[in-house]
């Protein structure tokens, strides 16, 4: 049994590590605001953007890797002349 810097008695090394983190988070000042920003940001990114706007194009349209490979192969071997239209948009 050892006394930590918080005054609590903690038995195991893992307990002391947990105490270190818990106390560290508890004492945060600016860190609290920053964690709120991070959590809001992650919710927007994964809960809104990824879910509704950034679905995996090949992942959602095909169920097997072979289908995905066939599709991409089809895309890159389409008649070369047919790409004129798409390449016209190539200048940034």
């Amino acid at each position: 049994m050892e006394q930590t810097y918080t005054g609590r008695l903690v038995a195991s090394p893992l307990g002391r590590i947990a105490e270190f983190y818990i106390d560290g988070f508890r004492r945060m000042t600016v860190g609290r605001t920053l964690w709120k920003v991070i959590i809001i940001k992650l919710i927007i990114m994964f809960g809104v953007l990824k879910l509704f706007f950034f679905q995996d194009f090949l992942g959602t349209r095909f169920s097997t890797d072979q289908q995905r490979a066939d599709y991409v192969l089809e895309q890159i071997t389409a008649p070369v002349s047919a790409q004129r239209a798409s390449n016209q948009g190539g200048e940034l």
Binding site: Y5, F20, G31, F57, L58, A78, A82, G89, L92
Partner: protein, 511 residues
């Protein structure tokens, strides 16, 4: 099918990626660079035991924490974009990028997450030496995690250690060491990290100059400046050295990029480097307009930069587009023919395989292999499409170089007046010091514009143009998310700047 694709979608997807990458790159260089300087501050504190150095270290650590928190996860959006807007590309490079990006994730998580907590929470809780070790490990971990993303980027600029598998439509990694020790990756990592150290020094210079102008936290600001200026000066030298190496690698593997950022249309021996010039932005590769309104060249320097040899020939845009028999340079037109053969044989291979004709498939594959290094050119319609936006590349490169030349002079001036102990009287220098952070940011962004705009039209150099790398989506879809990002990033940037300014305004005593 390609013919049904929306041509404007590519430009919106590129703009969206540029927006995301440039936003991400506001935070990353400061994180990479400032961790080293904080480690030095922390070391001085442990060596001297001075409370002032401790407060100084804690203050810069807090600003680093704010920057890290706002910047964290902004890079994830780029991965979303890969899967949605650039699905052909994502599929084709998945095997190459999987390993480096997985290592990056693991390194970032274990090294950064573990030692971050000790660095921020460890004051008076762990031993001084272990605390210092954690601070150094944050610096090492942050920079090591940057290795892997830069390895991935370098592979796109110089795709080594791979072979294309026509059955899976994927570039597969054949030699991990070749990918990791790709000379472009080495030069990219050293140039990026040293430029980040320079940028972090400028950040400290800016904040400290502001304190000195206001007459606040004078001792802390002066101490911060001395360490940052020495660090920045050393970093400047290293940036110059690694920048030279990066230009050399461009000349060897992406000569079109070098020609574009130097505005060199007609190749020449003993080519000069443009020290100062106003480029003609309406100039096209196939017209006879003068490339410059005026320019001052340093004779022979570009040849030295490109080939490590004075008097050597540096190919210009015209040589690379139309070829130069005398210099043994194959033009884009000839490469296009070979590229179209590669695509046709790939198509034939696919059909032979489907029909069960193994001999036909083997013959097609053999022809494909003979021409596969020009695969990307087969997707171009005109040789001139192999030319990147020249004016933008030129301007970005020269802005970066000019600023990169100014910064060491600024560090020297700060050190000189610190040595003379008259820094507080140099209002002009302190005023200039405040804006150095913004100039550093411009230099960094310009550097990435050179690297990424300069390699257009390629998503993977010579193998895959951006027009084929994208997904079959409409421009409207991408436009919507572009606007959403613009709003989101603006709000986040305002949040970051507000929190950062508030902490700078409070200063170190409150920590």
């Amino acid at each position: 099918m390609i013919e049904n694709l929306d041509p404007t979608m590519v430009n919106w997807a590129r703009a969206q990626f540029a927006l995301t990458a440039m936003y991400h790159w506001i935070f990353v260089p400061l994180t990479l660079g400032i961790t080293w300087i904080i480690a030095f501050y922390h070391t001085i504190y442990v060596k001297t035991g001075s409370e002032e150095w401790k407060n100084l270290t804690k203050f810069w650590m807090k600003l680093f924490g704010i920057n890290f928190a706002i910047g964290v996860a902004t890079g994830i959006i780029m991965e979303f974009e890969f899967g949605t807007n650039w699905s052909n590309y994502s599929w084709m490079v998945g095997d190459i990028f999987g390993a480096p990006l997985a290592i990056e994730g693991i390194a970032a998580f274990f090294l950064e997450a573990t030692f971050f907590a000790v660095m921020f929470f460890g004051w008076n809780r762990v031993s001084k030496r272990f605390h210092l070790f954690a601070t150094w490990m944050v610096a090492v971990g942050s920079n090591l995690s940057a290795v892997w993303i830069l390895v991935a980027n370098a592979w796109m600029q110089h795709p080594v250690g791979q072979a294309f598998n026509p059955d899976t439509a994927r570039f597969e990694m054949h030699n991990f060491a070749d990918v990791v020790f790709n000379p472009v990756a080495v030069s990219k990592f050293t140039h990026t990290t040293s430029a980040s150290m320079l940028f972090a020094s400028l950040f400290i210079l800016s904040v400290s100059s502001w304190y000195l102008l206001k007459g606040r936290h004078v001792q802390m600001a002066k101490r911060s400046i001395i360490v940052a200026a020495v660090f920045g000066l050393l970093a400047s030298g290293f940036v110059g050295f690694t920048g030279d190496e990066a230009a050399y690698e461009d000349a060897q593997h992406q000569p079109m990029k070098l020609a574009a950022f130097e505005g060199l249309y007609q190749g020449e021996k003993n080519a000069g480097l443009v020290a100062f010039g106003l480029i003609n932005s309406s100039k096209k590769v196939d017209d006879d307009q003068d490339p410059f309104h005026f320019e001052i060249r340093l004779p022979g320097i570009l040849s030295m930069l490109a080939n490590r040899k004075f008097g050597s020939f540096v190919p210009g845009i015209n040589d690379l587009v139309y070829g130069n028999e005398e210099q043994g340079i194959m033009g884009a037109a000839e490469k296009m023919e070979k590229g179209k053969i590669a695509i046709a044989q790939l198509d034939a291979y696919k059909k032979f395989k489907k029909a069960g004709d193994e001999a036909g498939a083997a013959a097609a594959l053999s022809l494909f292999d003979q021409n596969r290094e020009y695969l990307g050119y087969g997707f171009l319609n005109r040789p001139e499409e192999a030319v990147p936006p020249v004016a933008l590349s030129f301007n970005a490169f020269h802005i970066m170089v000019v600023l990169g030349t100014v910064f060491p002079l600024v560090f020297l001036a700060f050190l000189y007046f610190s040595y003379k102990d008259t820094l507080l009287e140099q209002k002009w220098l302190l005023g200039g010091g405040v804006i150095m952070f913004f100039l550093g940011l411009i230099a960094h962004q310009a550097g990435w514009v050179v690297a990424e705009v300069g390699r257009q039209p390629w998503a993977i150099q010579d193998l895959l143009p951006v027009t084929v790398a994208r997904s079959n989506l409409t421009a409207g879809t991408v436009k919507t998310t572009f606007v959403m990002f613009l709003v989101l990033f603006t709000v986040l940037l305002i949040a970051e700047v507000s929190i950062m300014l508030k902490q700078i305004s409070i200063g170190p005593e409150e920590n």
